[in-house]
C-alpha cells in the first residue's frame, strides 16, 4: 500500500463533518419522535378487534419490515411527489421514511410489551374508575414504554445508523459530508474512517447503556 496518510485535511474538514453530524442527529431525533408516538398508536390499533383497522396496519408494518430501508427512502423521495403531486425536501422525506420505518418496528416492540402487562391491571383500572383513555395514558403507555425501552432504544440507534442512507437523496448529513470531503481532498481513508468513528462514538455508549437499562426496568417491573 503506497497511500500516504495525511490527517491535516481531516482536521480542516472537522467543522463540516460536525455540521453533517448535526443533521444526522436531527434526522434521528425526528424519526424517533415519529417512531415512538406513531409506533404506539399503531400498536394500540393492532389490538383492536376491528379488521378494518388491523388489516391496513398489518400491511403497513409488514411492508416496512420486509423491504430494505434504502428502497423505502428512495421510493418516498421519487414516487411520493409524483403520486401526490407534492414536493417536499429530501430532509423532510428522509424523516418521514425513517420515522415510518422505525414506527413499524417499534409497534411490534410496543405490542409485545402491552401484551406482557397483566390483565388484572385493566380490571384494577376499571375498579378505580379510570376510563379507557385514562387507562391507556396513565397505566398502559408508561408500562409499555418501560417494558419496551431496551428494544425502542436499540431500534432508535439503528435508525441513527440507517439515516446515513439519506446521503443518497442529497441530504447533507454526516455521510454526505464525509463522501464529499473525501472526494474533494482525495483522502478517503482518513475522512471515511473519521466518519465511521463518529458514528461509532455516538452508537456505542447508547448500546452499552441498553443492557444497564434492561436490568433496571426488569427490577422495577418485577412483581
Amino acid at each position: 500500500m503506497n497511500y500516504e496518510f495525511n490527517w491535516f485535511y481531516v482536521q480542516k474538514s472537522l467543522p463540516d463533518l460536525f455540521d453533517g453530524l448535526l443533521v444526522t442527529l436531527q434526522l434521528t431525533l425526528w424519526a424517533n419522535a415519529i417512531g415512538l408516538v406513531f409506533g404506539f398508536l399503531v400498536a394500540l390499533g393492532m389490538m383492536s378487534k376491528i379488521k378494518l383497522i388491523t388489516w391496513p396496519l398489518t400491511i403497513y408494518i409488514e411492508f416496512f419490515r420486509c423491504t430494505p430501508a434504502l428502497i423505502q427512502l428512495v421510493w418516498f423521495f421519487f414516487c411520493v411527489p409524483i403520486i401526490f403531486n407534492v414536493w417536499w425536501s429530501g430532509y423532510f422525506m428522509g424523516i418521514l421514511a425513517l420515522g415510518l420505518n422505525l414506527a413499524a418496528f417499534n409497534a411490534e416492540a410496543y405490542r409485545a410489551a402491552i401484551q406482557a402487562i397483566p390483565h388484572s391491571h385493566s380490571d384494577a383500572s376499571v375498579a378505580l374508575g379510570l376510563n379507557a383513555f385514562q387507562r391507556i395514558i396513565h397505566v398502559i403507555l408508561p408500562q409499555a414504554l418501560i417494558l419496551a425501552l431496551p428494544v425502542l432504544i436499540t431500534n432508535g440507534i439503528g435508525i441513527f445508523q440507517q439515516s446515513a442512507l439519506v446521503a443518497l437523496i442529497s441530504v447533507e448529513d454526516l455521510m454526505y459530508q464525509g463522501r464529499y470531503i473525501s472526494t474533494q481532498t482525495f483522502r478517503p481513508i482518513e475522512t471515511l474512517t473519521t466518519v465511521a468513528l463518529i458514528y461509532f462514538a455516538v452508537s456505542f455508549p447508547v448500546s452499552q447503556a441498553v443492557s444497564y437499562i434492561e436490568r433496571r426496568t426488569k427490577r422495577l417491573l418485577a412483581n
Binding site: P118, V126, A127, L128, L130, Q134, P142, L220, L221
Partner: protein, 251 residues
C-alpha cells in the same frame, strides 16, 4: 330496602351458566363473607358488582340506587357509576409498578375525580399513616412485600371513599406469615364501620370478621347465617359437607 340487593342475577360465560337468578341481600352494617367450592362463582359475583362483567339479566342496587343499564338481553352491564361507590381489591397484585406507593394512591383521585394533587397527597399520607405504611410512601411496588402490596391496594381503593369494599381472596397469593397483617388491616377497616363483601378460604378469619356468612354452590345461595350459626350449627347437609372438607384440609 337493604343496603345491597341483588335480585335475579343471570350471568353466563358463553354456554357456561354461572347464575340463573341469584338473590342476595346485605345491610350497611354487614360484613358479608362468601364461601363455597372453587368455581361456584364467588369471584364472578364480585366482578359483576364491580361492573367488570356483562350480565344477562337481573337487578343490583346499592344504597337504594339501581345500577343496571342496557335492556338488551345478554348485553347488560352494571352502570359504570357503581365504580364511584364500590372499591375492590384482587387476589393478584394490581399495584401499578411504574408508580410509587403515593403515585398509586393519587392516580385515580386526581385523574378521574379531579381532586387537587396536594389534597390527594395529604389524604394518601393520612391513610398510609393509619396503615403504618407512611415510611413506604416513596417506595415502588417491586420494593414491597406481598402483604404491604395488598395493604397499599386497600388504601388505594379507600382513596375514593367507597361505600362498599369488595375483597376477592386478597391473601391467597401471600406467604403464610404475611396473611395476618392484611387480615388485621381488614379487621381495622371493619371496626371503622366499612361495609364489605369478602371472599376467602380462611374460615378462621371468616368467622372473626363476618356478620353474615353466605355459603353458595352451583350459582345458588345454599345457606346464609351469622358466623357462629353457620360454622357452629350448619342447617344444610351440603354446608356441613363443605365445611368438613375445608376444615379438614385447613387442619
Amino acid at each position: 330496602m337493604a343496603f345491597v340487593e341483588i335480585n335475579g342475577l343471570v350471568k353466563r360465560y358463553g354456554a357456561l351458566s354461572i347464575f340463573e337468578g341469584f338473590d342476595l341481600k346485605m345491610e350497611a352494617t354487614d360484613r358479608l363473607v362468601l364461601i363455597g367450592p372453587s368455581g361456584c362463582g364467588k369471584s364472578t359475583l364480585l366482578r359483576c358488582m364491580m361492573g367488570l362483567e356483562d350480565i344477562a339479566g337481573g337487578q343490583i342496587s346499592l344504597g337504594g340506587k339501581e345500577y343496571i343499564e342496557g335492556a338488551e338481553a345478554g348485553k347488560m352491564r352494571i352502570d359504570a357509576k357503581i365504580q364511584k361507590d364500590v372499591g375492590m381489591v384482587f387476589q393478584h397484585y394490581t399495584l401499578f409498578p411504574h408508580l410509587s406507593v403515593l403515585g398509586n394512591l393519587c392516580l385515580a383521585p386526581t385523574r378521574s375525580r379531579g381532586m387537587k394533587k396536594a389534597i390527594a397527597r395529604d389524604k394518601a399520607m393520612e391513610l398510609l399513616q393509619r396503615f403504618g405504611l407512611a415510611d413506604r410512601a416513596d417506595f415502588y411496588p417491586s420494593q414491597l412485600s406481598g402483604g404491604q402490596k395488598q395493604r397499599v391496594a386497600i388504601a388505594r381503593a379507600l382513596m375514593l371513599d367507597p361505600k362498599l369494599m369488595l375483597f376477592d381472596e386478597v391473601t391467597s397469593a401471600l406467604d403464610p406469615e404475611l396473611v395476618n397483617e392484611v387480615e388485621n388491616t381488614m379487621q381495622d377497616l371493619a371496626n371503622a364501620g366499612m361495609p364489605m363483601m369478602i371472599v376467602t378460604h380462611d374460615m378462621h378469619f371468616a368467622r372473626n370478621i363476618a356478620t353474615k356468612v353466605v355459603f353458595q354452590e352451583r350459582g345458588k345461595v345454599i345457606e346464609a347465617a351469622a358466623p357462629d350459626e353457620l360454622f357452629g350449627n350448619p342447617q344444610q347437609e351440603r354446608t356441613r359437607d363443605f365445611l368438613r372438607n375445608v376444615l379438614h384440609i385447613n387442619g
